[in-house]
């Protein structure tokens, strides 16, 4: 651990990491291979490590018509709208609530926290039917806004719970100092607590985004217009059709994962430095 690694330790560690790397990337390679091979209907029946004639044809096809002659960009727009919306609403409406739970000792706080925890534990399927009824009454069921609300319901309690912990970890002295300097409660929140907790809040938003971005099963219950289909739904839909093509599916999956992977690569440093999971305790 602390002692500098020896030569053989280096070799041993690298070997172990290669094994884990293979475990992580073998299945990913399967996906990439299929997508670049192009034109495989169903699943392939032969084994190859490398595509015979690498081609981008399937990507082009997917780009132009990913699902029911809708171009990829249209689906991506739907996905981004819905998951971005869910993340924004969760964080936007939840931040102040999380702050109140972290800072104030009001009556009903303990039951409120418990309710929040139950909300965070809830399997999405438990909210499905009631939301269906609710959105039908509000005449929002088949719209993208409706889908956004559904995904917000899945993600928001979890977000609030995590943001509360983030606010709790903000040193109280800092806030008190600002308060003594004459800042209002809002000012203290805005200038001190929020900036400090911002990394964790964005991680919470990222998780909300991911939950919504990869959801499809509940989506199919709510959406009935092909123009409102999201990317994840398109992939799950591609599995079921009779002209199913392994290459097409893989290309779609790669294209879908790409934005998230890029986001992660960009955020990697940020995630590692800021994503500290500490046990703050309930003071």
């Amino acid at each position: 651990m602390h002692r500098r690694i020896t030569f053989w330790g280096q070799v041993l560690n690298q070997f172990g990491l290669v094994v884990v790397g293979l475990f992580v990337h073998l299945p990913v390679w399967g996906l990439v291979y299929l997508a670049f091979e192009g034109g495989t209907m169903g699943w392939p029946t032969t084994f190859r490590l490398w595509p015979e004639e690498p081609t981008l044809a399937v990507f082009k096809q997917v780009w132009e018509s990913a699902s029911q002659s809708l171009p990829f960009v249209a689906l991506l727009k739907n996905s981004l709208l819905v998951s971005g919306g869910a993340a924004l609403i969760s964080v936007g409406l939840g931040t102040s609530m999380a702050y109140a739970f972290a800072r104030y000792r009001f009556p009903g706080r303990a039951p409120g926290l418990f309710a929040l925890l139950v909300g965070a534990l809830l399997p999405p399927v438990a909210l499905m039917t009631p939301l269906y009824v609710l959105l039908t009454i509000l005449k929002l069921r088949t719209t993208l806004l409706g889908l956004t609300i559904v995904y917000t319901a899945f993600a928001m309690p979890f977000c609030v719970w995590n943001m509360r912990s983030a606010f709790q970890a903000v040193p109280k002295d800092l806030e008190e100092a600002a308060f003594l300097d004459g800042a209002s409660a809002l000012g203290t929140f805005w200038r001190i607590s929020l900036p400090i907790a911002l990394p964790s809040i964005s991680v919470a938003a990222l998780i909300a985004f991911l939950i919504a971005y990869s959801e499809f099963a509940m989506g199919w219950l709510f959406v009935d217009k092909s123009t409102n289909v999201t990317l994840a739904m398109a992939i799950s839909g591609a599995l079921g059709i009779s002209t199913f093509s392994g290459s097409l599916l893989s290309a779609l999956a790669i294209l879908m994962s790409l934005p998230v992977v890029l986001l992660f690569l960009l955020l990697q440093r940020y995630l590692l430095d800021r994503l500290m999971f500490t046990s703050a305790g309930d003071d």
């Binding site: 330790g9 409406l93 104030y104 534990l121 917000t152």
Partner: protein, 762 residues
């Protein structure tokens, strides 16, 4: 003195009452249970033994061939029980895989079943002598009742195996392992020294009990082989004691081996004497009958049953499901739960029984044949552990609370004030906290309104739905307030509950037709809480533990490897390993299926694939399917733990390692004693988050659908199909059940660590 007398009278009365209750429940089952598999085999054998005994034909008893795989003692005992009855038609000898007989000759049938019930009741009585509450649990355990009310091989060996351990326990209590000291200071602890090795004269009583236990073991083995595993349990217990004892006698191991050998020899002698089939040609015959079982365990008959390795836990997690109405009390699930909760204390108080539960339990998990009657090998220690769990988690805290209340009341009275408890509590809620609310409410408003609307209102709506029969046909009524109307009318008693069956949504021919919502009462939710879905419950919890355990192990290992000073390519590897987290879960599941799917997967279509035959049956067998699922789940989940552990490792101060290195700690002990204790609180929140996700895992199961729904599904995935099928009320009931399970698990987890309060990304 009176108190003492009262206690012993109470003890005796409770033992008798429990025994009477057990007998009553078994008599009811004797009367009402239908004829089961193999009852004809054993009764048929009993009839022939009875004939032979009457005719005095010893040869026939010795050489009776049918059902040779099981030793004859139990069947002979059944024969003795029908000896006084007039002879009836002999039951034909059929193969062991045959379906249950349609009828069996009376009164033989009734009589043999009664004998079974008597042994079952005696077992309860024997356990009551040790610990009455656990005997009560054994008395009401439905699996125990079922198999000690039918003509099975279980009742006799279940009783005698309990006796083996009880006699051994008695031997220990009489000082088999106690220090023998002249000054009458009693050292209750068995850890001190071993009396066995100091003075033989004072050992008459313990040796007597030990001999009795050997005799009981012989009877057990002669009744059914598997139950003889208690012999192993006792040997392990003896050696554990000898290892712990600080006796200086150099020959302590030799003497212990001697005692075990003498004890075992006596057991074998009794076994042989009670096993007439072994009177001639014992070696070959015992080989034949023992090997029968290992062959049978690999036979198609067993394999076609398709039970997963953990099936015995599934049986235990719910009452017998095949005979509705026969069993009056169905609390098997809770007996299991408290047995798990209480195991630690159980181990401390009754170690040999805990060993029994452990060793026989492992055997049951490992043995491929999963018939539920094997449960009787562990039901006695299970109930004992459960009784201790109930005492520790319910009875003792309750008693403490009552005592505190009493104390508080007497204090208040001496002060001459009668404060009501709400005012006592009100003190902590001073005006200060109301001022806090005034400051906080504006902050709370937006989030609270949103959450109430989109999360908590739906949750309450689910709860109301779970008490109705809301489904596709009645959807219009439901949307227009029908659910609330029926819920209200139902709980105010204005309407009768209609019947809703969990299995209705599988039944295509009984689709609901009414276009109105009806109140259905608490029956469905109640049956879920009593363990109507044991498969899913056991799988769900096991899945959470296994998958998160693997994710944590891999994630932490990789993080530790990456944290070594001077490691090359650190950044590269880390980036590479985060990747699975960025890929949507179901895509990940899909590509693993792509790799491993039999016939179509990458590994299967490989030229000269060494995996092909292995993969061919991969998804047919629940155990190997579980491996595929676990691999996919580990792949997807470990980066999250790895990130948390990497962040945590940065916070471990390096000076500690230097100090440890100076003290000569190896790398392994460095991890064990430094890294792990410091790291654990830091990765715990991440592990908890992964656990919640694993418990509600959905897309993985949605994607890899090629196995029976009942064996492999989380509750949340299972609840999805009735929703999709339009049985909203059933799905709602399952969801409410899931929520209850999760809340209980979290509360329990919270008791162990306060981590849930501090789940943080700081």
């Amino acid at each position: 003195m009176i108190m003492k007398q009262f206690r012993s009278v109470f003890f005796i009365v409770s033992i008798l009452a429990i025994t009477a209750l057990a007998l009553g429940l078994r008599l009811r089952a004797v009367d009402q249970l239908p004829i089961d598999y193999d009852e004809d085999d054993y009764l048929g054998a009993a009839q022939r033994y009875a004939q032979a005994i009457k005719a005095g034909d010893v040869r026939e008893i010795m050489d009776y061939e049918f059902n040779y795989e099981h030793p004859p003692l139990t069947k002979i005992v059944y024969g003795l029980s029908i000896l006084h009855l007039p002879e009836e038609d002999l039951i034909p000898e059929r193969p062991p895989t045959a379906s249950p007989a349609s009828s069996l000759p009376e009164p033989h049938f009734q009589n043999a079943r009664l004998t079974s019930a008597v042994f079952g009741t005696l077992e309860v009585f024997a356990l009551a002598l040790l610990n009455p509450p656990s005997a009560l649990l054994l008395g009401i355990h439905t699996w125990q009742i079922k198999y000690t009310s039918q003509i099975m091989l279980e009742p006799l060996p279940a009783l005698t195996s309990l006796l083996v351990v009880l006699f051994y326990w008695q031997a220990c209590k009489n000082g088999l392992f106690q220090i023998h000291s002249e000054n009458s200071q009693v050292l209750g602890a068995r850890t001190n020294s071993v009396r066995l090795f100091s003075d033989f004269r004072s050992l008459k009583r313990p040796i007597f009990w030990l001999a009795l236990s050997a005799v009981a073991l012989g009877i057990t083995a002669a009744s059914k082989y598997t139950y003889a595993i208690v012999g192993l349990v006792i040997i392990v217990d003896i050696f554990l004691d000898v290892r712990r004892s600080r006796s200086d006698l150099p020959t302590k191991w030799g003497r212990a081996v001697g005692v075990v050998l003498a004890w075992g020899l006596l057991a074998i002698l009794v076994f042989w004497a009670l096993n007439p089939r072994l009177w001639t040609d014992p070696i070959a015959r015992i080989q034949a009958s023992v090997f029968y079982h290992s062959d049978y365990a690999q036979s198609e008959h067993v394999e076609n049953a398709g039970f997963p390795a953990w099936q015995q836990l599934v049986w235990l997690a719910g009452p017998v499901r095949w005979h509705p109405g026969v069993f009056l009390v169905t609390l098997d699930l809770y007996i299991l739960i408290f047995a798990i909760v209480g195991f630690k204390h159980f181990w401390r108080q009754y170690r040999v029984f805990a060993l029994w539960l452990l060793i026989a339990g492992i055997f049951l998990l490992a043995w491929p044949t999963k018939w539920p009657q094997y449960l009787l090998t562990i039901s006695a220690p299970l109930c004992l552990s459960s009784a201790i769990g109930i005492r520790k988690t319910i009875w003792e805290p309750l008693k403490r609370k009552v005592r505190q209340e009493k104390l508080k009341r007497s204090q208040i009275q001496t002060r001459g004030k009668t404060l009501r408890s709400w005012r006592l509590r009100g003190e902590s809620l001073s005006g200060n906290s109301w001022r806090e609310l005034r400051r906080a409410w504006l902050w709370l408003l937006p989030g609270t309104v949103a959450l109430i609307l989109i999360a908590f209102y739906p949750l309450i709506y689910q709860a109301a739905m779970a008490l109705t029969d809301f489904n596709t046909m009645s959807i219009l009524d439901g949307i227009n307030g029908g659910v609330w109307r029926e819920f209200w009318r139902g709980i105010t008693g204005q309407t009768e509950a209609v019947d809703v069956n969990l299995w209705e949504f599988f039944n295509r021919f009984r689709r609901p037709t009414s276009t109105e919502v009806h109140f259905a009462g608490f029956k469905l939710l109640g049956s879920l809480l009593l363990g109507i879905l044991p498969d899913l419950l056991v799988f769900n919890i096991m899945w959470t533990v296994l998958s998160v355990g693997l994710q944590a192990a891999l994630g932490i290992t990789v993080a530790v490897m990456l944290s070594r000073d001077g490691l090359r390519l650190r950044r590269f590897w880390r980036t590479l390993f985060i990747l699975p987290w960025a890929i949507p879960e179901f895509v990940g599941a899909l590509i693993w299926l792509r790799l491993l799917e039999p016939g179509k997967g990458w590994l299967a279509v490989m030229e000269n694939s060494p995996f092909e035959s292995f993969l061919a049956t991969f998804l047919d067998n629940p155990n190997t399917t579980l491996i595929l699922l676990l691999v996919a789940a580990t792949w997807y989940g470990f980066p999250f733990v790895m990130l948390a552990a990497t962040a945590g490792l940065k916070m471990v101060p390096k000076e500690v390692y230097e100090a440890a290195a100076i003290d000569g700690a190896g790398r392994l002990s460095q991890f064990r004693y430094i890294t792990w204790p410091l790291l654990w609180p830091l990765v715990m929140p991440a592990i908890l988050i992964r656990s919640i996700f694993a418990f509600n895992q959905f897309y993985l199961f949605y994607t890899i659908q090629s196995f029976p729904l009942m064996t492999f599904a989380t509750l949340s995935y299972f609840a999805f199909s009735p929703t999709y099928g339009g049985q909203f009320a059933i799905s709602a009931a399952i969801n409410m059940f899931t929520v209850i399970v999760l809340v209980v698990l979290i509360l329990w987890f919270n008791r162990i660590s306060r981590a849930t309060e501090g789940v943080t990304y700081a």
